[in-house]
């Protein structure tokens, strides 16, 4: 970078999860046949009028709370005017000078340390349709996306490295998903990112001219595009050139930036207050109710998992990534499992079963409610059954959700061998059959305990009380001849 510093601000567009679109009653859903989720309102048919969907406000409020933003109880919709075939009304309903919220911040970890980025504003708007340019030069338009509610989250220009932008976007996606505000699927376009990039000499007080990068549809693209643009701008300055403000499109396949055609004056959107919609008003009580219903956020959860529960870093991150996972884990703990065991089970058998069976977490928790699994975990921790047996019970449980762990224990004929005499006989036979390993142990190779325990469990079909078996084994191994 030879003395240059990067200055980047991000604009994230997140489609909000709602049943219906922002201003009409069409379903808000991805993947339908083109132009089937449309009505006079979102098609801009002459005479149709928008009516605001209050679901949108609840989602925006959740996000604003999660970002620690100032929510404006009065905000306003404006029209942003421009012509394009995927914009049927010739204007987009957006918010210009009275946005839904201002301020807030998002923290994330990049290169091992925590960075916090301030947020300028978050405003509501409607999505446009989708234009697809065909090889023959014609354009086809799908208007299903018209009127889908969006929130645009504008950051301060505080990023100083491409990886920071990537990490921020990734943290924002995690947060949006966690609070259920946006599904975060960048490849379906429900989360999109534009970046404003400029460079300046380190120590320079003013910002230089910036360029806008559009169509950054993956975290990788954000990082690569910013890196490429940084290089381009520095090269121009180094050759004594100047940067002119322009909009560039990131071509993901070719990994290069392509300048977009700009028409003169096309950035004069002639914003004015949307006369078809009254001012957007919410009450403090509405905000307070939503705040009270909010789950603990990933940052707070991680704090709880590491400080209160003393879980390791891997577990802390794993459990706080998704509200369903953290919720399930928390219930395990609330119903009596230790935090360590709960984490071990969720990250181990539970996750394995999801992967093997292709279940969603919701599907899994419907089959095995946390309270049920918690019973099994506690049984295991008490030593009522062995870990091996517990795994067998678990496997049976996920396919027979109507049974309780106790019923399955009975069904599988599981019992724990606690007969010290019987165990003693089995173990001394094993020990006498393996004189070489015994010798190794006596030479100081304590690892051999694991070898013998394996054989004990094999011989008892996993039914031996592990603690008891180990005590008996140690006695025999350490016994002088």
């Amino acid at each position: 970078m030879s003395g240059y510093e990067l200055v980047v601000g991000l604009e994230i567009h997140a489609q909000l999860v709602t049943k219906t679109k922002a201003f009409c009653r069409c379903a808000n859903r991805y993947g339908a046949e083109p132009n089937t989720l449309v009505c006079p309102v979102c098609l801009g048919t002459p005479g149709a009028l928008p009516v605001f969907n209050r679901e949108v406000v609840a989602q925006a409020t959740r996000l604003a709370i999660a970002l620690g933003a100032d929510i404006h109880l009065h905000s306003r919709f404006d029209r942003k005017n421009y012509f394009y075939p995927d914009l049927p009304k010739g204007y987009q309903i957006s918010q210009f000078d009275h946005p839904f919220s201002t301020g807030g911040h998002l923290s994330f970890i990049v290169n091992g340390s925590t960075k916090s980025i301030n947020i300028t504003r978050a405003h509501l708007e409607e999505d446009a349709g989708k234009s697809m340019h065909l090889a023959d030069g014609s354009t086809i338009v799908d208007l299903n996306r018209c009127g889908v509610p969006l929130i645009e989250i504008v950051s301060e220009p505080e990023f100083r490295a491409a990886e920071e932008a990537g990490a921020y976007l990734s943290a924002m996606r995690e947060l949006l998903r966690f609070i259920g505000v946006c599904d975060g699927n960048m490849d379906e376009g429900s989360l999109r990112c534009d970046a404003n990039v400029s460079v300046r000499k380190i120590g320079e007080p003013e910002f230089r001219e910036r360029c806008e990068m559009k169509n950054l549809n993956s975290i990788r693209s954000v990082e690569r595009a910013i890196a490429a643009e940084t290089k381009r701008q520095i090269a121009i300055y180094e050759q004594g050139g100047v940067i002119h403000r322009q909009t560039l499109q990131w071509n993901e396949q070719e990994e290069r930036l392509i300048p977009m055609r700009v028409k003169e004056g096309s950035d004069d959107y002639r914003y004015f207050p949307e006369p078809d919609l009254p001012e957007l008003r919410i009450t403090q009580a509405f905000v307070d109710d939503i705040r009270a219903s909010m789950p603990m956020l990933p940052e707070q959860l991680r704090e709880k998992y590491s400080t209160t529960y003393k879980l390791n870093r891997e577990a802390v991150y794993y459990l706080a990534i998704d509200i369903r996972i953290s919720g399930y884990t928390d219930t395990l703990i609330e119903t009596g499992s230790t935090a360590q065991s709960a984490a071990k089970w969720v990250m181990g058998p539970v996750t394995r079963s999801l992967n093997e069976r292709g279940w969603s977490f919701d599907e899994f928790s419907r089959r095995v409610p946390a309270a049920t699994l918690s019973g099994l975990i506690q049984k295991t921790d008490r030593g009522d059954i062995t870990l091996g047996q517990a795994n067998a019970v678990f496997k049976a449980l996920i396919v027979k959700p109507e049974k309780s762990p106790d019923e399955i224990v009975a069904e599988l004929g599981i019992e724990v061998m606690r007969d010290e005499v019987k165990l003693g006989a089995i173990i001394s036979e094993i020990v006498s059959e393996h004189p070489e390993e015994l010798a190794k142990f006596r030479e100081g190779k304590t690892k051999m305990v694991g070898f013998f325990m394996g054989l004990v469990m094999q011989a008892t079909k996993g039914q031996a009380d592990a603690q008891l078996a180990k005590n008996v084994l140690m006695e025999l191994l350490e016994a002088k001849e």
Binding site: P40, L43, G44, T45, P46, G47, A48, L49, P50, V51, F52, R79, N81, F83, P85, P88, K89, G90, Y91, T139, D268, R270, Y271, F272, P275, D276, L277, P278
Partner: protein
């Protein structure tokens, strides 16, 4: 006045006559086609509705608009009917849904016979700016009927139907009502749903009824008023609920707007008619007081900034991409927009789109649009405040009677000034009524305007009905 069909009350007496009378009404619309009132007639829909109304009345249903035959301005959507807005750009466009007002009219028993002519996209004061031909004043075919709802005014004035719907943005119903000698009511903004009304100036537009008497206007406004889930600007204020209108019987305090009565543009005959009205009211024992609206003189410039700004955005959707007209020489996206909108819109519409685009442009926005919004607020506050001390404000509806066809078409500013007394009510959102008073020396109707506080349509119309009884030929 002309009556070609029996009154709604007479039809309700023998409902089985309705289908025949609807036939007569359609026939007279055709007979009088030279008046240019209608742009489409909806025979099949009208006959079907007539049959349904007959059976509903016979089964004992009380239909508030039973027996009413109605025409609708062609900027209001009726499902499966053409919707032209008087423009070439909506060539062959059929509505896919009905406006809320249409659903309410038909539910109440009205039979809609057709769609009426208008200035293109309701922009004009003479119905000369229609791509579908001009409309003529039934009192003098060399003169305009007013506009933009000229066709709806003519349809009622010529006795083709009982009532009609127009739309108001700055006087588009009251001014043609005055020119054609009938009543026209601009309701409070939010009183009537705009869903299905093609927007011109969204913060000013209201669907507005015409009829020959205030009582008939009342019947219609009562039915079409009320909140609508499909229009976020519609009001939940209670709707008038008396079954029929009674003329106001008490003593009134009536405000006279001094600046309007002394306005230099006021024609002598209109001035004389106003003086007649004032003395008739005094004689009837009402109190008349002078009221000042010092900022009302800025109404026209404010109106042309706000309305054209909104129009420039509202009309952006007519781009040749999805519906209506598309120029046949288009080659690329820019030419789809440029050629289609150049050829599809008439001169006045293009003029207003350009004005509206200009006043919203970066660098001009504050000087024009922001200032206009501030002055609008001042004018509105002034008017609402004045209405706190009187029952109604009385003014002429228009400075002149109907002007000659072609007289003002090339002089937009003088055309705009014909709305000078009507625009303040739109800016303030208050209801206002035009009632015919007398004829001028040329035999042309003169209308008087009454403005009233928000959501007082019933009282306003009852005052109008009382004034009808004071008319020189009204007794």
């Amino acid at each position: 006045m002309l009556r070609r069909i029996p009154s709604p009350a007479a039809i309700r007496q023998s409902p089985r006559r309705l289908p025949d009378i609807v036939g007569q009404s359609l026939a007279s619309a055709r007979e009088l086609s030279s008046l240019g009132a209608f742009v489409s007639l909806l025979d099949a829909r009208a006959h079907q509705q007539a049959q349904s109304v007959v059976s509903r009345i016979e089964s004992g249903e009380q239909l508030p608009l039973g027996g009413y035959i109605v025409a609708v301005k062609d900027n209001i959507a009726i499902k499966d009917a053409p919707l032209t807005c008087g423009s070439k750009i909506l060539d062959f466009h059929q509505s896919t849904f009905s406006a809320t007002v249409i659903e309410r009219l038909e539910e109440a028993g009205a039979v809609i016979i057709g769609k009426t002519n208008l200035d293109e996209f309701a922009m004009g004061s003479s119905t000369e700016n229609s791509a579908l031909g001009i409309a003529l004043n039934p009192f003098d075919p060399d003169r305009v009927p007013g506009g933009s709802s000229g066709g709806s005014a003519v349809a009622v004035a010529a006795g083709i139907c009982h009532a009609s719907l127009g739309s108001e943005t700055g006087g588009s119903v009251r001014q043609p009502a005055a020119f054609c000698g009938i009543c026209g009511l601009k309701p409070t903004y939010g009183r009537v749903s705009r869903y299905g009304l093609v927007a011109f100036g969204s913060s000013l537009d209201q669907v507005s009824p015409f009829a020959k008497t205030c009582a008939e206007v009342y019947d219609v406004i009562r039915v079409i008023s009320g909140s609508d889930q499909r229009d976020a600007t519609s009001s939940a204020a209670p709707v008038p609920d008396s079954a029929c209108l009674e003329p106001f019987s008490g003593k009134l305090r009536i405000g006279l707007v001094k600046d309007f009565l002394e306005h230099e543009a006021l024609e002598p005959d209109v001035r004389i008619a106003m003086n007649d009205t004032i003395s008739a009211l005094k004689k009837a024992g009402h109190e008349l007081v002078e009221v000042e609206l010092p900022n009302a003189k800025y109404s026209i410039p404010v109106y042309y900034i706000v309305a054209t700004a909104e129009a420039s955005s509202n009309l952006a959707r007519f781009d040749g991409v999805r519906y209506g007209y598309r120029h046949r020489d288009v080659t690329d996206l820019a030419s789809v927009y440029d050629l289609t909108r150049e050829a599809g819109f008439g001169k006045e519409v293009r003029r207003r789109i350009m004005m509206g685009t200009y006043v919203l442009s970066a660098g001009y926005y504050d000087a024009y649009y922001t200032t206009a919004l501030k002055v609008r607020r001042i004018i509105a506050d002034e008017l609402v405040n004045a209405l706190k001390y009187v029952d109604v404000l009385l003014t002429p509806t228009t400075p002149s009677t109907a002007f000659k066809i072609g007289e003002k078409i090339d002089d937009p500013v003088s055309m705009y000034l014909s709305d000078i007394f009507t625009v303040p009510a739109n800016l303030a959102g208050v209801p206002a009524l035009s009632v015919p008073w007398s004829l001028d020396s040329k035999g042309l109707p003169i209308g008087i305007q009454l403005m009233a506080p928000h959501f007082t349509e019933e009282k306003l119309l009852s005052i109008g009905a009382a004034i009808e009884l004071l008319r020189p030929e009204g007794k």
